[in-house]
């Protein structure tokens, strides 16, 4: 039985407007969703279990509002759902990764899947960071997997084409799109998930070494020039050469 762990994060809906209030992002009005790449990670974790057997746990680190995405994962068919309870607010990569890594080892994980990047941070730091903390190999941005009992064969896009990479467990894999559309929950799954319990995982709080000074909206670009009609294509080509200097 492989212990399969999948890291999922709750993030603001990618359509949400990010309002800045008193120099900080105001998220009080946003709708919260499972980070899009984490849906692929969940799909891969479930496929792993279907291919070779195992037990799938979905783990998140966040405040109580994050139970929603855990229940959504439960409805898709994961076996266990767990959360490291932290208060609302900023945590830097070092504290997030240290706490996640500790929880992953206490849960006995042998393979960890996560998203290639979260939709809020866009960082792609967590998978490799957790792997380093655990002393495990990691492979990032995977688009396809062949599951073995104690090893995996992974497809990873590279600038030269596609690399086929072999890795032995334990390992951390960050998932890109590619393994098919993530499954949707059925009614039975949704009913079961309603009654599911979230295991609260206690880990030692780890402090970081950065703090947030503030958020700002990206500076507005000066308004562009708009031209009506294809006869202006030559004007734009001239501007690209003489004003923008990019061709």
């Amino acid at each position: 039985m492989v212990e399969i762990l999948v890291l999922i994060k709750q993030v603001p809906d990618t359509n949400a407007r990010i309002e800045i209030k008193d120099g900080k992002a105001d998220l009080s009005m946003v709708k919260w969703i499972t980070s899009p790449y984490d849906e692929y990670a969940l799909e891969v974790a479930l496929q792993h279990k279907e291919a070779v057997g195992g037990n799938v746990t979905a783990l998140t680190l966040g405040p109580a509002r994050c139970d929603k995405i855990l229940k959504d994962a439960k409805a898709l068919g994961v076996d266990n759902i767990a959360r490291i309870d932290v208060p609302e607010g900023y945590l830097d990569s070092f504290s997030v990764q240290s706490m996640l890594a500790e929880a992953c080892s206490s849960l006995g994980a042998e393979i960890i899947y996560c998203g290639k990047a979260a939709a809020d941070t866009n960082a792609g730091s967590t998978g490799p960071g957790v792997a380093e903390k655990l002393g495990w190999p990691s492979v990032a941005n995977i688009t396809n997997i062949i599951f073995g009992d104690s090893s995996l064969e992974l497809m990873q896009p590279s600038f030269e084409g596609q690399a086929k990479i072999g890795v032995n467990l334990p390992a951390v894999i960050t998932c890109d799109k590619g393994m098919g559309e993530p499954r949707r929950a059925n009614v039975k799954g949704i009913m079961m998930a309603k009654r599911a319990n979230v295991d609260l995982i206690g880990v030692e709080t780890v402090g970081g070494n950065t703090s947030v000074v503030g958020h700002a909206s990206p500076p507005d670009k000066p308004p562009g020039k708009s031209f009506d009609g294809s006869e202006h294509v030559s004007t734009v080509v001239k501007l690209l050469r003489d004003e923008a200097n990019v061709i």
Partner: protein, 311 residues
Amino acid sequence: MSEIIILAEVINNTLKESTAEIVTAALSLGENPILIVPGTSPDSAASMAATYEGVGSVIALQDDCFSTFDSAAWCEAIASVAPPGHLLTSSSSMGKELAARLAVSRNSTIIQDVIKIEGSNITHPIYSGKAHETVSLNGPSVMTIRSNVFKQSGNGGSASISNVNTSSNLRTSLKEMVAKASERLDVSEADIIISGGRGMGSPNNFDKLYSIADKLGAAVGASRAAVDTWEEIPHSMQVGQTGKTVNPSLYIAVGISGAIQHLAGMRTSKYIVAINKDGTAPIFRHADYGIIATWEEALPILEQELGTLLG
């Protein structure tokens, strides 16, 4: 004493130009940064890196593990030669993965996609560029530097080079390289990108984009609607929230409406050109130069004009 360390971006023993931008970023944190040049035979890349102005010294780091990318092995090799202090590298996808590991191995925090450094205040985009976050550092950190943001440093320098050999164990194995179907440039590699959306009408019409791309030395990208609608347009071409984030000098969007998830992948391009028949399409609000026209009318003229200009 805490040092400033730069990890050069090197692919197949060739130094990438983005390294010169990282040098500039590093110099805003402190003087005489140490530049590490990894490779299976790093000497010529190291000689070139030594000419970057402001660099204090260069370490040519030879290790056979650099023949294929394995973040654990690379991290081990680099960590063994990098002294304590801030470490900066490129925000390519390899750079980001490696940097995340290095940060943990140095007990520090990683800040990805840095666009501004002011004292110990570091700014980077979050929420797909919908906001900028400034954090303050209370200790050494690891940062990746967005390309096309910092100026390249000059090349009148002559730093001393030392050679270090390590032998780190690969933890993954490269079984096979499946070559790309075409020799076309990837969007994440290109300095000019021309992308097509659902408005292109059919995948065959992307040929028009390819012939313009050939004139410009550009890569061809696509919106998710194009990728999802047409099998011929692979996901590797997708730009946006669930595709690639690109930061070219010039981005030309053709028949793309400019949905927020598409903008998430390309809004930081230096110049944006939009060609769309609908003057109210949101893409025009982000374009430096907008042309309200169908692609059927506009692209032949564009190709011809570029032909005259660029030969």
